[in-house]
């Protein structure tokens, strides 16, 4: 373990990026600080001051800035970032609150039995724990629109499969490494599959906001049957999908 006073810590990711580490473990408080800082640096005064900045990538424990080294004073940018981190107030990010459909029937919950065994719970208890969880999006990565979500109930915090699957179907809802995620498209993957979420997570045609989820968003579930899940997938495939239909209007910030 690294001592906590090592953070924040500025690390060179080559000569075109800085990674500012705020911690090195999965920790909701660290993630919230990252997202607070991410909001700060996207404000107009920062953008105007650093025209050579290409983009920002928040993760669960760090914030990376990619920049053009030919037009940016890299050292000054790094120091400014460290300073912003020391001043940054922790505030809950202004994410959106989603209530997304989740089918946990056997056809999709391919690892339900394994997860239940490892958790020492019944199949019903595993389903209930997942369905009642409130997850928070900490970062996107791995695939376009693939959201790493924290807030997984303790018994479902289980490691990746020893042997990854060569094909995980699109929409699979899965847990691993203390996190939960939904696969936006079919992909190899080693997470434990517990259900299916039929809405599209990434659509290049929605060019203003191609990813459904963003860091800071929260996700709760609405249980749907296999038939409802299939019907939703069909509707979405035919173009009848409005993301705002799935916002949880009753959710508290």
């Amino acid at each position: 373990m690294l001592p906590p006073d090592r953070f924040p810590r500025l690390l060179a990711l080559g000569d075109t990026a800085w990674t500012l580490e705020l911690g090195h473990t999965l920790d909701e408080a660290v993630s919230a600080r990252v997202l607070g800082l991410y909001e700060r640096v996207r404000e107009a005064d920062w953008q105007a001051h650093w025209p050579g900045v290409v983009e920002w990538v928040p993760t669960l424990r760090s914030l990376t800035v990619h920049f053009d080294p030919l037009t940016t004073d890299a050292d000054a940018l790094g120091q400014a970032l460290l300073q912003a981190a020391s001043l940054s107030h922790v505030h809950s990010p202004k994410g959106r609150h989603w209530r997304l459909p989740l089918c946990v029937e056997d056809a999709w919950a391919l690892d339900l039995v394994r997860v239940a065994q490892d958790a020492g719970l019944s199949l019903t208890e595993v389903r209930d724990q997942l369905l009642s969880s409130c997850l928070r999006v900490g970062m996107l990565g791995f695939l376009p629109g693939f959201a790493y979500m924290t807030g997984v109930p303790q018994p479902l915090q289980q490691p990746r499969l020893a042997t990854p699957r060569t094909g995980v179907p699109a929409g699979s809802v899965a847990v691993a490494g203390g996190m939960c995620a939904i696969y936006p498209c079919a992909s190899p993957g080693g997470w434990r599959l517990l259900g299916r979420m039929p809405l599209p997570l990434f659509d290049p045609q929605r060019s203003d906001q191609p990813a459904l989820l963003a860091p800071g968003d929260t996700v709760r579930w609405r249980r749907v049957s296999q038939a409802e899940c299939d019907e939703l997938a069909r509707c979405c495939a035919s173009g009848a999908f409005n993301p705002t239909d799935w916002l949880d209007t009753g959710a508290a910030a």
């Binding site: 080559g14 473990t25 290409v54 983009e55 990538v57 990565g141 695939l143 060019s207 963003a214 860091p215």
Partner: protein, 343 residues
């Protein structure tokens, strides 16, 4: 009738690329883009394009293309040649590093690149609709380029028609060679490695594995030891050039199609100036690394950018092809080529 190139045979793993898809890595969208942006820029400059207009990136085998509509001006840059599509005695070689004009119905057969990748630029760039601000192909996500995949026979590559009096251009200067050693900056997770690891990285002649692609190179031939902090981190951001080391101790060098975040510690990161050198290796090649300081990386990038400007300013423009003494022109081009081969 619209102008463009019809793909007759697709070659092997040929993709459409431009400068890449920036601004979306926080959504998990890979950067992608040309493996060697300088070389892409060179091909574009020859046909009078913007430096990052969309080009075809060719590796082991190039496509056969047929011009449709109006004449199309092309230029190849890299260790590559082409032939006009007529078979038999009329078949004529079309060297790289100069423009060529393809008349409607004419075909061009592009070879494989003898080293790394090469680029084919067309007048106006390949004008397929951009996806999320870029025409670069990202295979993993199936976006950009031609339906997010490699070329297939029958694909249509729209471009701009070339007027009959369009200038003819050729390169007078040889292409700058890559150094034998790829330069890196230490970190960002140097503390996840033993005290010797950075030296082992530099002392080892690494062999490039067979499964290299636009996402990464796997290297064998040595073992980089982790420290007590181990071979896993809570995922943080990665970029092309990052040298990840999983538990096996064998490094993986990320390339432009790499994912945006990763869970293996990174011992070192290839500097921007030397990233295109990674595009020149092939499976079985040997790769060496040398660790430098940030100020040296900055200097290296400035020098590389200046060298590129010098190369661009060495392009010879002839008002139009009819003005050229073709044999003198060809001789000129051979001289450039000879220098390049001797490097």
């Amino acid at each position: 009738m619209s102008t463009g190139l019809r793909v007759v045979t697709p070659g092997f793993a040929v993709s459409l690329q431009d400068r890449g898809r920036t601004g979306l890595r926080h959504l998990g969208v890979p950067l992608s883009g040309a493996l060697d942006p300088w070389l892409m820029s060179a091909a574009n400059a020859l046909v009078g394009n913007q430096s990052s207009d969309a080009v075809l990136e060719v590796g082991l085998d190039g496509p056969t293309l047929e011009a449709v509509g109006e004449p199309v001006q092309l230029a190849l840059c890299g260790e590559i040649t082409a032939r006009s599509g007529h078979t038999g005695p009329q078949e004529s070689p079309l060297p790289a590093w100069r423009t060529m004009l393809l008349q409607p119905g004419e075909r061009i057969k592009i070879s494989g690149a003898r080293q790394g990748v090469a680029y084919l630029a067309v007048s106006g760039g390949v004008r397929v609709p951009p996806v999320l601000g870029s025409r670069s192909t990202t295979m993993r996500a199936g976006i950009g380029g031609l339906h997010g995949r490699h070329l297939v026979a029958g694909d249509w590559l729209p471009c701009l028609p070339t007027p009959s009096d369009a200038p003819h251009r050729f390169a007078r200067q040889p292409w700058p060679p890559c150094a034998d050693t790829v330069r890196v900056l230490a970190g960002p997770q140097q503390d996840h490695f033993s005290a010797q690891a950075l030296q082992v990285l530099q002392d080892t002649a690494w062999r490039v594995g067979r499964d290299m692609d636009r996402m990464g190179l796997r290297l064998t031939g040595g073992r980089l030891e982790h420290s007590e902090l181990g071979a896993n981190i809570v995922s943080d951001a990665v970029l092309p050039g990052a040298i990840q080391v999983p538990a096996s101790g064998e490094p993986l060098v990320l390339m432009p199609d790499c994912q945006t975040t990763g869970g293996y510690p990174k011992l070192a990161t290839v500097i921007a100036a030397d990233l295109p050198c990674l595009a020149r290796v092939r499976p079985g090649d040997t790769l060496r690394f040398r660790c430098i300081e940030p100020a040296q990386a900055r200097e290296a990038l400035h020098q590389r950018a200046q060298a590129h400007q010098r190369w661009l300013s060495g392009i010879v423009t002839l008002a139009h092809a009819g003005d050229a003494d073709e044999s003198a022109l060809y001789h000129h081009n051979l001289i450039s080529g000879a220098v390049w081969h001797d490097d």
